[in-house]
Amino acid sequence: MTDLSQSPTPVPAGQNSLLTLSDRTKKRNAAEKRFKIYGISAIAVGLLMLVVLVTTIVSRGTGAFQQSFITLKVELLEAKLDKKGNRNLEDIKKVTTFGYAPIVKAAMQQAVQDLGIETDLKSKQMAALLSKNAVAQLRAYVLENPEHIGTTVEFRFLAQSRVDGYLKGRVSRDSIENDKNISPQQLDLADELLAAGVLEKTFNLDFILGSDASDQRPEAAGMGVSMLGSLFMMLVVLALALPIGVAASIYLEEFAAKNWMTDIIEVNIANLAAVPSIVYGILGLAVFINYMHLPMSAPLVGGLVLTLMTLPTIIISTRASLKAVPPSIRDAALGVGASKMQAVFHHVLPLAAPGILTGTIIGLAQALGETAPLLLIGMVGFIASNAPESIADGLLAPNSAMPAQIYEWAKRADPAFYERAWGGIIILLVFLVTMNTVAVILRRRFERRW
């Protein structure tokens, strides 16, 4: 009963008990409750989106990690593969993949016969169940083991993408009505082969380790080579952006005088962080490729472009973590007669290191997922069929990158590629989540409390 006089609307004496809520309190409590509900529903919507996203990606992408294979016994006929019979590698090389086609056909026909499957398909149509990659696989094997010519060897060939899709439920008899690549009779044969165990669906390591394949052979396409492309780009980014970014931040934060020049630099760095990444791409095209004549599609150029893009992120996070080191540590070091540089490198930098590392990893993760700048320097649409042979090759030979590869697959007409795009997204996300987890762990582990 003390503050009645201060209240703008005097409360009648009877209502002033602490046990009954005043209208004002009720209103405040209701507002607080409403706000909490807004917050919770916002988070719930966010979580729901996340769940939808993850389930979509996983349900559509896991198929890419499995592949249908057909196991065949192939007789490597000497008459076809090495007419002269002297096992001269040069002569064997003269037989192109066309020369291997009849052998594959014969092997397929033999297998169907052996299993006693009744079909009116011709041997060519039977062999069409196999991937176009089968002949290339056979030729590669023969060139590597010429001594096996004349013997019978068991091979595990990729099945054609329609057959693979049929096993995964993507292709059905209805959906292939207008499809020239496969007929219902061929699917019947596939059913028989599946029952006989010749055709099977297993885990496909080649999707993770292999290289991209042409439009005609989606079943053979893999992420491996573009992963290497991404890896080399990240090496370039790490090697350039970390030292440059950290050195620039230390100078700006600890040594540079605070004047209008550094203010302008600071504003510009903040602005650069918000520049659309495609702008960096066109800058890279103009400077690195057109002016400096670095090779097109090379991970080195991609790495340089992504370095430019990542630098502002690293500088901003490094400066923030340097700022977070309490000034008392600098005073302490200077107070015992350390030079400014000793104070920074002996005391401030080690304390800021976890923050710097976190920022760097997040910057790298961002660069890893970046596609737009790569469009302009020719890293999209390029098909590298072989893994690079050396580090120099890895940096300079044309290659793709993971997000560019995903974009490329998503763009192609065949639904089999579509599935691989989702699978590629899973791989990319695994990388990103791993990197971010490492960043969080580093931050938690080395975080200091003052």
Binding site: S328, D331, A332, A333, G335, V336, G337, H346, L351, W450
Partner: protein
């Protein structure tokens, strides 16, 4: 130390360690220190007292050029250490700070081991030729800072894990490990409890034997307890400077009297 009998304290004449002549300090447009002249003697504890914002800490930080780290800070006038102008262009503040050590208001040990905290200064100044010498310096410094007995078994433990009072004594050990000639203390006890304060004060009195100590303090009792000379700052001016006993019992300036009797502050 007989705490309040300040008049009885004898004061032998000593050589001048630091002499400040017409020192002015500006922070941008703010005139923080106005024409300060003061002589700080060797083997003496000199206390700077005065209300908050009077410039006593600023002036203290001028004595080892810690103000250099503040961009907008400008110092004019001469500050002579053993007759040499410390603001001369040829003077490297790093060398100066090795001679004029500093202990800060808040204990600020490095987040490293106790040993590394104390050995850092000697190490960067090359005071020890080998590990044994370094260990010797560390032990000597910790003993002089009256903390050896408490930490001798855990020199590898982090310095930040000690209690506040121990941390401050560790910082004092760190400061004296570089063999300074002057020790500046910026309110070294303001973050400490009375027991830790008493320990640090006792330590300050012992340090007087080897160093010239300058201490900034908010507590007039502390100034009276530990110092032989007291300087009273007010609004950037050095109002009065003299033997502690005289300042506290018979101040010449009415402002000093008002402050020590609690009328301004």
């Amino acid at each position: 130390m007989n705490t309040m009998n300040v008049m009885d304290r004898t004061l032998e004449t000593k050589t001048t360690k630091i002499a400040a002549r017409d020192v002015n300090v500006y922070y941008g447009d703010t005139h923080a220190i106005k024409d300060v002249n003061v002589k700080i003697e060797a083997n003496t504890v000199t206390a700077f007292i005065g209300p908050s914002g009077c410039g006593k800490s600023t002036f203290l930080r001028c004595l080892n050029r810690m103000n250099d780290t503040i961009d907008i800070c400008r110092v004019t006038g001469d500050i002579l250490l053993d007759g040499e102008d410390i603001y001369d262009k040829r003077v490297d503040p790093v060398q100066l700070r090795a001679k004029v050590g500093m202990v800060f208001q808040k204990p600020n040990p490095f987040p490293k081991s106790i040993f590394d905290n104390v050995s850092y200064g000697p190490r960067i100044h090359g005071l020890a030729r080998n590990k044994a010498e370094l260990e010797e310096i560390v032990e000597k410094s910790l003993r002089r800072a009256a903390i050896w007995e408490e930490v001798k078994d855990r020199l590898d433990a982090p310095g930040t894990g000690l209690s506040g009072g121990q941390q401050q004594r560790l910082c004092i050990a760190r400061a004296i490990a570089t063999e300074p000639e002057v020790l500046l203390m910026d309110e070294p006890c303001s973050a400490l409890d009375p027991i830790a304060t008493a320990q640090v004060e006792e330590l300050i009195d012992e340090l007087r034997a080897s160093y010239s100590v300058v201490i900034v303090t908010h507590s007039m009792q502390q100034a009276a307890r530990v110092s032989q000379k007291t300087a009273f700052f007010h609004l950037g001016n050095l109002v009065e400077f003299g033997p502690t006993g005289q300042i506290f019992t018979n101040p010449e300036d009415p402002r000093t009297e008002s402050y020590i009797t609690g009328r301004i502050g």
